[in-house]
């Protein structure tokens, strides 16, 4: 009976996987330093009204892709909408993942193609930007990774 139930569940999962988005296990992913002190892009207010604050933070990424091995898909980094002000994040990589950009509430592509190996390790350098006239206190940015399986 257990084996029969397993087969039924497997069939259900296979039937929806084609267009589905799955969270990616990112245990072991962490920022080097949990706080990013935002600095004014222009220390004094500018004639053009540039009130951007920005910071850079290094992220050690470790993605467990074993469940998706030998499949083809697209991996995205996501950041939920922020309550106070939109946050723009751009990043550079060492080449295993794609550089990109996202705005809070959106997701940014970091990988597209076949998933050949079960573990992906990468170092991202995030550049975080926000409107300093709206960001008045510390704010947590909870990033996730997710995958679209083709």
């Amino acid at each position: 009976m257990k084996r029969l139930l397993g087969c039924l569940l497997a069939a259900l999962a296979l039937g929806t996987a084609g267009a589905a988005t799955f969270p990616v296990d990112e245990v072991g992913t962490f920022p080097q330093g949990s706080n990013a002190a935002m600095r004014w892009r222009q220390i004094a207010p500018s004639r053009g009204g540039d009130n951007t604050v920005e910071a850079a933070v290094v992220i050690n990424v470790r993605l467990n892709l074993a469940p998706f091995r030998n499949k083809t898909g697209k991996i995205y980094m996501t950041l939920p909408q922020q309550p106070v002000t939109p946050v723009t994040v751009s990043w550079t990589t060492q080449g295993r993942l794609l550089p990109g950009q996202l705005v809070s509430g959106q997701r940014g592509l970091v990988y597209a193609g076949p998933i050949l190996l079960p573990l992906l390790e990468e170092t991202l350098v995030l550049k975080i930007e926000a409107d300093g006239t709206r960001l008045s206190s510390a704010q947590n940015l909870d990033f996730h990774f997710e995958i679209d399986i083709d």
Partner: protein, 217 residues
């Protein structure tokens, strides 16, 4: 990508797609970056100041302890006639550190400028520029002139509209408000001082020091 060790044994008996579905239930994590607000900064420059480069060039302000002098020599025949006497400054600052624009005309004008950087969107909480004014200018031998004899007009090359530090007259023996700088604004004016010359006073050099202070709430 790098190879990793094998997955848990419990998964091995499951069909691959089911294993995927179950793994996703409990293993998802997030990484969190805490961002902090920008720092509060105020900058005030009366006369000469220090700024590395210009704001538009990515410069940053420094500290300059210079006390500039605004003065006038009244001819003996003019003392106390009530004919206003234009004053000049030893400040040579003509250009704004904001963008290097030629804003003032020294020695006739004294540059006064600054900025107020503050995170958040609080309203109605500008930084305030005040002047602490002694009662009198003194010649050191008993002669005095009220500071209320000194007034100024305010302008700036190319400026239209109201000045952030408008025209005024010193209020002798008090701390008076000179103007304000709104949140996340740069403000600057060129002050042209004059001596009212309505008092007949003994000859001599009369001096006094006014201290300007920018205060953020």
């Amino acid at each position: 990508m790098t190879e990793a060790g094998g997955l848990g044994g419990a998964r091995r008996w499951l069909p691959p797609a089911l294993g995927l579905a179950l793994l996703l239930q409990g293993s998802v994590q997030a990484y969190t970056v805490t961002i902090t607000a920008g720092t509060r900064t105020i900058y005030l420059q009366v006369g000469v100041g220090s700024f590395t480069g210009t704001l538009s060039g990515g410069g940053s302000p420094g500290v300059n302890a210079t006390t500039n002098v605004v003065s006038v020599t009244v001819p003996a025949a003019q003392v106390g006639t009530g004919t206003s006497q234009a004053m000049t400054t030893n400040s040579t600052v003509a250009n704004s550190y904001w963008d290097n624009f030629t804003f003032c005309s020294p020695p006739a004008q004294l540059y006064v400028g600054g900025f107020y950087r503050v995170p958040g969107s609080g309203s109605g909480s500008a930084a305030t520029l005040t002047a602490t004014v002694p009662s009198t200018l003194s010649n050191g031998s008993g002669g005095t002139i009220s500071f209320s004899q000194v007034s100024w007009t305010s302008s700036g090359i190319g400026d239209t509209g109201a000045q952030p530090f408008p025209a005024g007259t010193f209020s002798a023996g008090s701390t008076q408000t000179i103007g304000s700088i709104a949140r996340n604004q740069w403000a600057e004016s060129c002050l042209t001082f004059s001596y009212a010359n309505t008092a007949v006073v003994p000859p001599g050099t009369y001096s006094g020091t006014v201290v300007y202070t920018l205060t953020a709430p």
